[in-house]
C-alpha cells in the first residue's frame, strides 16, 4: 500500500471492517469478564470513523489518524473510547505533518500510542489489558518496510493478547472479578491485535 493519507485511510477502513466483523467475538469476550459491550462499542465507533472518512479526506496521514482519534473519543465512551482515542491522537501527533509514513515513523507512532494508553490508563504489562498486546507490538515493530514493521507488530500483538488468558486482571472492569478473571482472553488486547493485523495486511 501507499503510506500517504489515502493509504492510511485504507488501512483504517480495513481495521474498521475487521473489528466490526469480530464484533460478536469481542462482545462475548467482554461478557465473560466485563460488561459485554466492547465489540458493540468499537463497531459503533468505527462506524462513525468510516462515515467521517467518507465525508472528508484528510490530506496527511497524521490528519487521518487525528480524525480517527477525535471520532473514537466523541462516539465510543467506555474505557476503550478514551484509550484508543488517545492512542490515535498521540500517533497523529508523533507523525506530525509528514505526507508519507516511513517504517521509522510507524515505529514511533506505535510507541507514542502505547505511551498514550499508559498515560491515561496507568496499566502495566501483566495487568490483562490492551497494554499486554500493544507493548510487545511496539518492541517488535522493526523492519525495512512499513509492511514489515506492522507485520512484526501484529504478530507480537497476537501473542501478547494470548498471553492475557491466564492472567488475573488488575485494571479495568475485569479486575472486579479478582481471580475469576483468569482463564479468559482480554477483549481490549484482542481488539488491539485485530487492528494491527488489519493495518499489516493493508500495508502488505
Amino acid at each position: 500500500m501507499g503510506c500517504d493519507a489515502a493509504g492510511v485511510a485504507r488501512a483504517v477502513r480495513a481495521a474498521a471492517e475487521l473489528v466490526t466483523a469480530h464484533r460478536d467475538e469481542l462482545v462475548r469476550l467482554d461478557q465473560a469478564i466485563g460488561d459485554a459491550d466492547h465489540g458493540e462499542n468499537l463497531k459503533r465507533g468505527f462506524g462513525f470513523v468510516l462515515a467521517a472518512l467518507d465525508q472528508s479526506t484528510p490530506d496527511t496521514p497524521g490528519a487521518v489518524l487525528k480524525l480517527v482519534a477525535t471520532t473514537l473519543i466523541s462516539k465510543v465512551g467506555g474505557a476503550a473510547g478514551p484509550l484508543y482515542g488517545t492512542a490515535f491522537l498521540r500517533a497523529a501527533t508523533a507523525v506530525g505533518a509528514a505526507s508519507e509514513l516511513t517504517p521509522d515513523l510507524v515505529s514511533v507512532a506505535l510507541q507514542a500510542a502505547l505511551d498514550g494508553v499508559v498515560a491515561r490508563g496507568k496499566a502495566e504489562v501483566g495487568d490483562k489489558t490492551m497494554v499486554d498486546a500493544l507493548t510487545p507490538a511496539v518492541e517488535a515493530a522493526r523492519g525495512s518496510t512499513v509492511a514489515e514493521v506492522l507485520t512484526a507488530a501484529a504478530a507480537a500483538a497476537e501473542a501478547g493478547a494470548e498471553s492475557t488468558i491466564p492472567l488475573t486482571a488488575r485494571k479495568g472492569r475485569a479486575s472486579y472479578l479478582g481471580e475469576r478473571s483468569a482463564g479468559h482472553l482480554d477483549p481490549g488486547a484482542r481488539s488491539t491485535s485485530l487492528m494491527l493485523r488489519a493495518f499489516a495486511e493493508a500495508a502488505s
Binding site: 461478557q31 459491550d37 473519543i73 466523541s74 465512551g77 476503550a80 485494571k171
Partner: protein, 333 residues
C-alpha cells in the same frame, strides 16, 4: 431476548424521547449528543450538578434531574459511559456561572471520559470540579483492582449535593459534601439473575436455580463469588456484614438505609428484605433515621438487590430532607 424495544441500537434515544414526553415540566432532552437537562436550566448563580453514566440503570441518572437534585445527566449507550462531548454539552447547557460539579462513578471508562470532559469544559472557561464515587465494598480497594465501583451511594450523593446546590452552596462546599457522602457510605449487592443487554440478546451470565452471585456490580459483570441462595435472612446478612465491618459502622451511629432493587426484584421482596435489615441494625445498636426503598440504581431487568448505608450527621440529614422534584424522587416543597 424478550424486550419491549425496536432496534437495539435505538433503545437509548427512544427511551429518552419517552422520558421527555413524560416529564415536560421537569426536564428537556437533546438527542445528539444525548443530554437530559433541567427544564429551567441554566440557573444563574447556582452551582450546576452534572452526572451520567451508561444507560440501563434507570431511573439513574435522568430520573434524578430536577429541582433539588441534578441539573443534567448524560446517558451513555447501555452499560457504556458517556463520551466527553456529551458531558461537555451538558455542562454548557446548565452552567449558571457558579461552577459545575461532575459526579462520576468509579469505572475506568467513566473516569477517563469525565476527565477529558472536565478539561474541555475548563478550556471553555467553566469552573469544574469532579468527585469520584466508590462505595462498593465487594471490590477490594487495592493495587490489584480499578478500585471500588460507584453504586448505591451515587443516588445519595446526587440527592444531598443537589439539595446543597439548590440552597445556594458554592462549588467548594458542594464538592466537600460529595466527598463526605462518599466517605460515609458503603454498599454491597447480590444478583439472582443476570441482565440481558439489548445489543447482546442473551443474559450476561447464567446462574443455577439455587445460586446467587455475591458482590455484583450494575453492569452484568459477574460478582466475586457464587453461593447457594439462602433465605432472605441470609441474603441480608451477606450484604450487611461486609458493609458494617468496612467503614466500620458502630453502635450509636445514625444512618440512612437504602434498600435497592436491581430492577427485577419486586417490591414485595424488597420491603421484606428491608424489614430484616432494619431489625438487624437495631439489634446492633445502629439507628436508622432515614430510609429509601425501591429500584433506584438498577441493572436492566436483573433480579437482585443492594444495601447502602450512609452515616448521617445533622447537615446530611437536613440536606436529605430538603425538597426534591424529579421523575423518580419527590418530596417536600
Amino acid at each position: 431476548m424478550k424486550k419491549i424495544i425496536n432496534d437495539p441500537a435505538d433503545v437509548v434515544v427512544e427511551a429518552l424521547r419517552g422520558l421527555a414526553a413524560a416529564h415536560p415540566d421537569l426536564l428537556r432532552v437533546t438527542e445528539d449528543p444525548a443530554v437530559v437537562a433541567r427544564a429551567d436550566a441554566p440557573r444563574a448563580g447556582k452551582v450546576a450538578i452534572v452526572s451520567g453514566g451508561g444507560s440501563g440503570h434507570e431511573p439513574l441518572h435522568g430520573g434524578f434531574v430536577g429541582p433539588g437534585m441534578l441539573d443534567a445527566a448524560c446517558p451513555g449507550a447501555v452499560f457504556t459511559s458517556p463520551t466527553p462531548d456529551q458531558v461537555q454539552a451538558a455542562v454548557s447547557q446548565v452552567d449558571g456561572g457558579a461552577g459545575v460539579l461532575l459526579l462520576v462513578k468509579n469505572y475506568t471508562g467513566d473516569v477517563l471520559n469525565f476527565e477529558t470532559a472536565a478539561e474541555l469544559a475548563a478550556a471553555d472557561g467553566v469552573e469544574v470540579r469532579s468527585v469520584v464515587i466508590d462505595d462498593d465494598v465487594a471490590v477490594q480497594d487495592s493495587l490489584y483492582t480499578a478500585g471500588r465501583r460507584g453504586v448505591g451511594a451515587t443516588v445519595l450523593v446526587e440527592k444531598i449535593v443537589g439539595a446543597a446546590a439548590e440552597a445556594g452552596a458554592d462549588l467548594d462546599t458542594c464538592a466537600r459534601l460529595a466527598r463526605a457522602v462518599v466517605a460515609g457510605a458503603r454498599s454491597m449487592g447480590i444478583a439472582l439473575t443476570a441482565p440481558t443487554v439489548p445489543h447482546v440478546g442473551e443474559p450476561s451470565f447464567t446462574l443455577g436455580e439455587d445460586e446467587m452471585e455475591v458482590g455484583i456490580g450494575i453492569h452484568g459483570e459477574p460478582g466475586r463469588r457464587r453461593e447457594p441462595l439462602p433465605g432472605a435472612e441470609g441474603v441480608v446478612a451477606a450484604l450487611l456484614e461486609p458493609i458494617l465491618s468496612d467503614l466500620p459502622f458502630a453502635a450509636g451511629d445514625e444512618v440512612l438505609l437504602f434498600t435497592n432493587s436491581m430492577g427485577g426484584t419486586p417490591l414485595l421482596e424488597l420491603y421484606l428484605a428491608h424489614g430484616i435489615a432494619e431489625r438487624v441494625l437495631a439489634e446492633r445498636g445502629i439507628t436508622v433515621t432515614r430510609r429509601l426503598v425501591g429500584p433506584y440504581i438498577t441493572s436492566l431487568e436483573m433480579q437482585g438487590m443492594s444495601l447502602t448505608l450512609l452515616r448521617l450527621d445533622d447537615e446530611l440529614t437536613r440536606l436529605w430532607d430538603a425538597p426534591v422534584q424529579t421523575a423518580a424522587l419527590r418530596w417536600g416543597r
